[in-house]
């Protein structure tokens, strides 16, 4: 009965209803879009930065990350590949071999970090080929070719087609040395790394260092940033018996993580303020609507309606409007966010972070961009509807009817 009355009341006062619903709806959409967009942009940055630099997850032998050693190798790469292939959340992975050595071009020499990469996998996982600024990628996996970082090229005064010699120590104790041709120069955006990076095709590196079939690291990217932690745990379980450690980017890129965390905190405050603003907007309209009808409620009381029923009536009306606005808000918000997630807003002037260019800020569709606004609208309208109606319900009808 009350519901029927509530519905009728709502449609009776079209203008008032419209305005109230509009403010709830508007607030909903604004909040949904803002949160979706803010979350999307942040996660976009985190995703791009980790994905294209070191991957989301890395596997090493034991404590290789803290105390690297030539001998801490992952020996059974193929069985790991099987596990990775079977995990649906994993996008791609790339194996790497590391060591240090002395490189020399003509009379200049410098210390370098040797990185053996599987070209195809590396391109897939970290878009390595896109970072090559001069020359080209490796022609095959065992070629006597190297790609050096742009900083190293400068220090050695070397360019594409130059011959470069490296000396290092192989895993069997012999002195590893060989001559290669520089086929490409790479700019990973990390200036410090580029001053010493010396990339070899994986098989060539394994041959140089006498570490056939072994690697030091497997870098993995997940399909979605949100899957990183669950996948890390899954991998840890699958590899529990081996002496391998699986670490997510939060662990191996901890300074980046800290910086991002600080930013996220700022984001929370922004969301809080958005929520506040939206509630205030809703308060405004609902309060006015309810207060306007205090006289009406007085009349109702006078004809015998019980206080409890009045409260229920008011709340019913407010809630119906709220539900309706929320629903509509979700639909429209979803559409907006969907558009924003695929096209995004192009900034007039992109900015760069960690060597990546960000020109488009995209939104993302996630749970909290919907439930936070929904909850806000619901709660605010409920609360603000409650007080005056309580008052009306318990005030003397005569007084209510005189209310203006």
């Amino acid at each position: 009965m009350i519901m029927r009355m509530a519905f009728r009341n709502i449609f009776r006062q079209k203008r008032r209803t419209l305005l109230t619903v509009l403010s709830m709806f508007g607030g909903m959409v604004m909040a949904v879009v803002f949160i979706g967009w803010a979350d999307g942009s942040y996660n976009n940055i985190i995703d791009n930065f980790t994905r294209y630099n070191f991957g989301h997850i890395q596997i090493h032998k034991e404590d290789y990350l803290d105390r690297p050693s030539l001998y801490k190798t992952i020996d059974d790469y193929s069985s790991i590949e099987k596990i990775l292939r079977n995990n649906p959340h994993i996008d791609s992975w790339a194996p790497r071999l590391y060591s240090v050595g002395l490189v020399s071009v003509r009379e200049k020499s410098s210390g370098a970090r040797i990185i053996g990469i599987d070209t195809e996998k590396e391109n897939q996982t970290t878009a390595f080929n896109k970072k090559i600024t001069a020359g080209k990628g490796f022609s095959d996996e065992s070629a006597y070719e190297v790609i050096i970082g742009k900083g190293l090229a400068k220090i050695l005064g070397a360019g594409v087609d130059d011959s470069i010699v490296i000396v290092s120590q192989a895993a069997d104790g012999s002195i590893a040395n060989d001559r290669y041709t520089i086929v490409g120069i790479v700019d990973t955006g990390n200036e410090i790394a580029d001053r010493s990076s010396f990339y070899l095709p994986l098989e060539s590196a394994q041959e140089l260092l006498v570490l056939y079939g072994r690697v030091h690291e497997v870098a993995i990217t997940a399909k979605n940033l949100h899957n990183v932690l669950p996948v890390t745990n899954q991998l840890q379980d699958s590899l529990a018996d081996s002496k391998l450690t699986v670490a997510s980017w939060q662990e191996f890129a901890s300074s980046f993580y800290m910086a991002m965390k600080a930013d996220m905190e700022g984001l929370w405050i922004s969301i809080f303020i958005i929520v506040l603003i939206v509630s205030v907007g809703v308060f405004n309209t609902v309060l006015m609507s309810v207060l306007e009808r205090v006289r009406e409620y007085g009349v109702l009381k006078a004809v015998g309606t019980k206080p409890g029923q009045i409260i229920k009536l008011v709340l019913a009306e407010v809630n119906i409007m709220a539900f309706f606005s929320i629903l509509l808000g979700i639909i429209v918000g979803y559409i907006f966010n969907y558009l924003l997630s695929t096209h995004g807003i192009t900034l007039a002037e992109g900015f760069s972070y960690g060597g990546m260019e960000f020109k488009v800020m995209k939104a993302e569709i996630n749970a909290r961009s919907f439930y936070i606004p929904a909850l806000t609208v619901l709660l605010s309208s409920f609360i603000i509807g409650l007080f005056p109606s309580l008052k009306a319900a318990h005030t003397d009808p005569a007084k209510s009817m005189r209310f203006h």
Binding site: G173, I175, R179
Partner: protein, 253 residues
Amino acid sequence: MKRALITMSYFIFLCFSLMLATGEPDETQAQRIVKKIDELYRSTSSKALMEMEIITPHWQRTLEIRAWSEGMEKTFMRILEPKKERGMATLRIGNEMWNYLPKTNKVIKIPPSMMMGSWMGSDFTNDDLVKEFTFFNDYDFEMTTVNQAQTGALYVKCIPKENVPVVWGYVLLAVRADDYLPLWEKFYDEEGELVREMLFKEIKRFGQRAIPSVMELIPRQKQGQKTIIRYLEAQFDIALSQDIFSLRNLRAE
């Protein structure tokens, strides 16, 4: 009166000989010992054939090396065996060092940043080969004893002087009492922990000199690791052509 004078001179004589017996003489002995150690493997020039066996927890190798030296300034080493490293050479003149790699036909100058790195994977650093390492100038010494002292051995404690670029807290030397030939050297950090130990064995005669022909360097803080140098042949104070200590010589052979 005469009696008093005699007693007096006796007394003075006693003091005098006591002085001689305690203070100065011991120090001189320590200095003598250290001097001998410093000059043991040095000479105006030398030529030697040696074997370097490197043992690590992951692999074991033995290199055969021919080495020339002139004074403290110049050193030239050529690897003869194993086949993979045959022809590799290292030239050191003063503070500079070059490596030659026959496989790539390349002479690389070692940058100072790599000087502390190990020479060819052994426990000796490039720096060890380069530094004008003198116990004599860089340390202060005193005679000492150790637990489980051997009979016929003398022990010297060497404490590095304040401004010398040396990382050790102190070094203990053990030598043979009769000819001062070294038995071992132990290197301690400043907290008194033994970090490195060098053993000297198998005294052999090379020409006019008798020297320990085997030196074993054992890093105490790494498990299963050591480097052993064996002198197979050695000639001292011979005439050497200056051409040996040249970049061109690196490529020869």
